[in-house]
């Protein structure tokens, strides 16, 4: 109980101390967007006959006729009151857009991470059990290969092979087949929502859509996960309690799965946390290639249109998730490792 309280206190402190960083992110993004030479008012007033007057009106409406510090003050006030502004590109409030699109990105990233871990852990373990052998080298080579192909290339290739040539993948357009009715939205995760609604067919449709983009992303993150699994397995396998276990005559598979893997999991968890938050923000290209209605593709479109509010909202969201995931990993660490909480 005391341990839990300690962890909660630590978590609270960590959250508080990350506030300045989040504020920094907000201010930095804000300034960066203002430095962009594009004038969103001009861009969005680009009807066939829009003149200077329309541009001025729009600029006023968007608050762009005020000085940058004043704009920043207004923006911070808005964030304080829970408003992220409105996207010119979609015409919707940014918060609403992000709320609708974040589950899409999360669902994709979780699936990718799941696939990646499902492949990387066995590979890392296999490499660690046979260090220096052909298996070890093959694992390293295979994983590294995944990092070498830009995701937009592997994505387009997967579509070409599995959809266009073989015809076994569903059409790469978004989260669920357009002719399948999406389930009522509860969690925003289509697979889970479908299962909750008892609609196995929709769940399968949503899962099928996930496979290719998630595989594209997973390929790219195999290397760090497999590498960390291998390293921490090696460290654990060399430790005393494993040797004791062996001496006691426990079966090899029992030692590996029950004792070694469990102890090697922590560093892998840390890396998985980092990989997760990086993937979430970095899968712009995958979302583009697969028409995935996620947050990163949303931010990219806004950026090219100098549409400030969505980019700012997106960056703040990503930074917050980054902080939260790190915190979560630390908490899990604390729960698993008594020394952390004591420190």
């Amino acid at each position: 109980m005391r341990k839990l309280a300690g962890i909660a206190r630590l978590a609270g402190q960590r959250l508080l101390s990350s506030l300045p960083a989040l504020l920094g992110v907000v201010v930095f993004t804000f300034v960066l967007m203002r430095v962009l030479p594009g004038d969103p008012a001009v861009f969005f007033a680009s009807g066939p006959s829009a003149g200077q007057q329309e541009i001025q009106d729009l600029r006023h409406q968007m608050g762009l006729d005020r000085s940058i510090p004043v704009q920043l003050a207004f923006y911070l006030r808005d964030i304080g009151t829970g408003s992220f502004g409105r996207s010119m590109t979609t015409g919707q409030p940014v918060l609403k857009d992000l709320r609708e699109r974040l589950p899409a990105s999360l669902e994709l990233t979780f699936t990718a991470l799941f696939i990646a871990l499902g492949l990387a852990i066995p590979m890392g373990v296999a490499a660690a059990l046979n260090p220096g052998t052909a298996i070890d080298h093959a694992v390293r080579f295979l994983c590294t290969l995944g990092v070498c192909v830009p995701t937009f290339v592997s994505g387009l290739l997967l579509i070409y092979v599995f959809y266009y040539l073989a015809g076994i993948a569903p059409d790469p357009t978004g989260r669920i087949d357009v002719f399948t009715a999406p389930p009522p939205s509860l969690t925003g995760f289509l697979v889970i929502d479908s299962l909750l609604a008892g609609d196995a067919e929709a769940a399968a449709a949503a899962l099928r859509q996930l496979v290719l983009p998630a595989a594209t992303m997973a390929l790219f993150v195999l290397a760090p996960l497999a590498r960390m699994t291998r390293a921490s397995m090696l460290a654990v396998l060399g430790s005393d309690f494993i040797r004791t276990g062996r001496a006691m005559g426990l079966s090899r598979s029992r030692i590996i799965v029950v004792y070694a893997l469990r102890n090697a999991a922590l560093p892998v968890l840390t890396i998985a946390g980092i990989v997760f938050s990086t993937m979430l923000g970095a899968n712009v290209l995958v979302e583009k290639v697969f028409s995935w209605p996620g947050v990163a593709a949303y931010a990219l479109d806004a950026l090219l249109a100098s549409d400030y509010a969505p980019v700012q909202g997106f960056v703040l969201l990503m930074a917050s998730i980054f902080v939260l995931v790190n915190l979560l990993v630390d908490v899990l660490y604390g729960l698993a490792d008594p020394r952390v909480a004591a420190a």
């Binding site: 594009g38 829009a50 015409g91 569903p170 978004g174 002719f179 100098s306």
Partner: protein, 540 residues
């Protein structure tokens, strides 16, 4: 079995189950698939009200299907498809219209049986409110309606519950066509008025996300950036001879990657796309599996624009030199794969054959003449300059720019290529800060005077070359109100001739719009707004 094998086996099981998932047969599509049209596009419908500042071109197109206008253009057959007919109009929401002999009064008679999507009847009050909105709201409407002498709500009067009259100061040839354009939507005023606020007396905010129209299609799902789903309005009266459109359901989906759009069409999963890469289209056409309706965009023109306010482009000889040095044929072939109508290579010298615009200009690639002109202009050693275009047009303009740079290099002009994000590009163009750039402006109206008033005079963004030629300004204004077709033609020819001589812009081509559709889809029409009008389409 060793632990390694078991763990590896686990990995294999994961991949195996993935493979099974992938290969599971997709669920049979709904039985109405044949009556459903699925369009894939790289862009997005961002508002249901096309007059909202910031509306995308796709939003313009969507509004044609969801809202009616009082009148609409007829269409005429053109190759495998149709094109809109600027010279012939028919009533749409109105039952009929008549124009007074002096051309100053247009009277619209409404249909007694026309209804809004909520089932209530269309009244003269609704029409008056909608027209007022188009010329008064702080939206894209007023500056467009202005080009047809429609400027004030006082011009619109309700004669009786089924009749509305439009009064003009001058007999403006573009008044009626303006009422057929995107912005002159007819809105259910009772619904809209329920959502007006003090800051927003025309319900621009509410209509952005909701529709209150009477058009052929009703919006079911509107997810900007993802998809929009429509169903047919069975009570629609605006069709030609009262016919309903063929498709009962429309799905318009945003698919950003052009290669994926091509794949979807090739697999038969999508029915139509109008924004494939020009490089893909010839191959698709060759394969013969899909139907390609290719229409040169006769209301658009691709140019290399020279900013006549920035030296050395204030010097007509420099402009002529560059126009003579452009590798037209190579550009036409490499950038748009020859898919379009050429606007160069004409053989007249001082007088064009007719007053049409755009039309081919008497320019040919001639590096010797170009070098000579450049020397005469005092730039025997050439000069340094920039050439700009927006990122979204890179697919066509990357090769175009590379060829331009190479060719101008041969006469000593050193070009730095600038590829700018779209918002930056439009800002710099509007602020007149770009020296030389390329773009493809488009006009909803195809009268020569309209082109010249919008694209070659004035201070607005679309006067790309910031051209200020008093002769052109005066001639275009005179032409606008010239009722005599013969005199109009003479004025139009004069405008074209001055442009050919002064070269404010080097004209390249009118790119084709390649509408690619499944073999069973028929009836595609090229519209002034360059979007798909679902009402035209049917499945054979």
């Amino acid at each position: 079995m060793s632990g390694v094998a078991r763990i590896l086996g686990g990995g294999a099981a994961v991949s195996l189950s993935l493979a099974i998932l992938l290969s599971a047969a997709p669920h049979a599509a709904a039985q109405t698939r044949a009556e459903t049209l699925r369009q894939v596009t790289g862009n997005t419908v961002n508002t249901l009200d096309p007059t909202v500042p910031g509306s995308t071109r796709e939003a313009f197109g969507m509004s044609m299907n969801v809202y009616d206008r009082l009148v609409t253009f007829e269409r005429k057959a053109n190759g495998k498809g149709f094109i809109f007919d600027f010279d012939h109009m028919r009533p749409e929401l109105a039952k009929s219209f008549d124009i007074s002999p002096d051309g100053l009064t247009i009277t619209f008679h409404l249909r007694p049986d026309a209804t809004w999507h909520d089932g209530t009847p269309v009244t003269a009050e609704d029409v008056k409110w909608s027209l007022d909105r188009a010329v008064t709201a702080k939206s894209l409407g007023p500056p467009q309606m202005l080009t047809g002498s429609l400027t004030s709500a006082s011009q619109f009067t309700i004669i009786d519950p089924m009749t509305v009259q439009v009064k003009l100061d001058k007999p403006d040839r573009l008044a009626l066509p303006n009422l057929a354009t995107v912005y002159a939507i007819m809105v259910n005023s009772k619904v809209a008025k329920a959502h007006v606020t003090e800051d927003d007396p025309w319900a621009l905010q509410w209509l952005k996300e909701h529709e209150a129209g009477s058009g052929a299609y009703v919006v079911d799902v509107f997810k900007p950036g993802e998809q929009i789903v429509l169903h047919r309005n069975e009570a629609w009266k605006g069709g030609k001879d009262g016919t309903l459109p063929f498709f009962k359901r429309i799905i318009a989906q945003t698919v950003p990657e052009a290669a994926t759009r091509a794949n979807l069409l090739a697999r038969g999963d999508a029915d139509i796309a109008i924004d494939l890469q020009s490089s893909d289209v010839p191959e698709i056409e060759k394969s013969g599996k899909l139907k390609v309706v290719s229409t040169p965009q006769f209301n658009a023109f691709t140019v290399v624009a020279f900013n006549t306010r920035i030296p050395p482009y204030d010097n007509v000889k420099v402009r002529r030199a560059i126009a003579a040095a452009l590798p037209y044929e190579d550009m036409f072939k490499a950038a748009i794969f020859g898919r379009g109508a050429k606007l160069y290579g004409a053989d007249w010298t001082t007088t064009p054959p007719d007053g049409k615009f755009p039309q081919p200009m008497p320019e040919h690639t001639d590096l010797v003449a170009a070098k000579k002109l450049l020397t005469e202009a005092g730039f025997a050693e050439g000069f340094d300059t920039t050439f700009s275009y927006s990122v979204s047009t890179a697919q066509i303009n990357d090769p175009l720019a590379a060829l331009l740079k190479e060719s101008l290099g041969k006469i000593g002009i050193r070009v730095e290529i600038q590829k700018l994000p779209d918002a930056q590009m439009s800002t710099l163009v509007t602020e007149k800060k770009v020296a030389m750039f390329t773009d493809t402006p488009i006009s909803w109206m195809t009268s020569t005077d309209y082109f010249f008033r919008n694209f070659f005079t004035g201070d607005q963004r679309w006067n790309y070359s910031s051209w200020d030629n008093q002769d052109v300004v005066a001639t275009a204004q005179t032409a606008r109100f010239e009722p005599d077709p013969v005199k109009y033609e003479a004025l139009a020819k004069k405008l074209v001739a001055i442009t050919a001589d002064q070269v404010p812009e080097a004209f390249l081509w009118q790119p084709s719009q390649d509408a690619v559709m499944g073999p069973t889809v028929d009836g595609y029409t090229y519209w002034f707004h360059r979007q798909v009008d679902y009402r035209d389409l049917k499945r054979q």
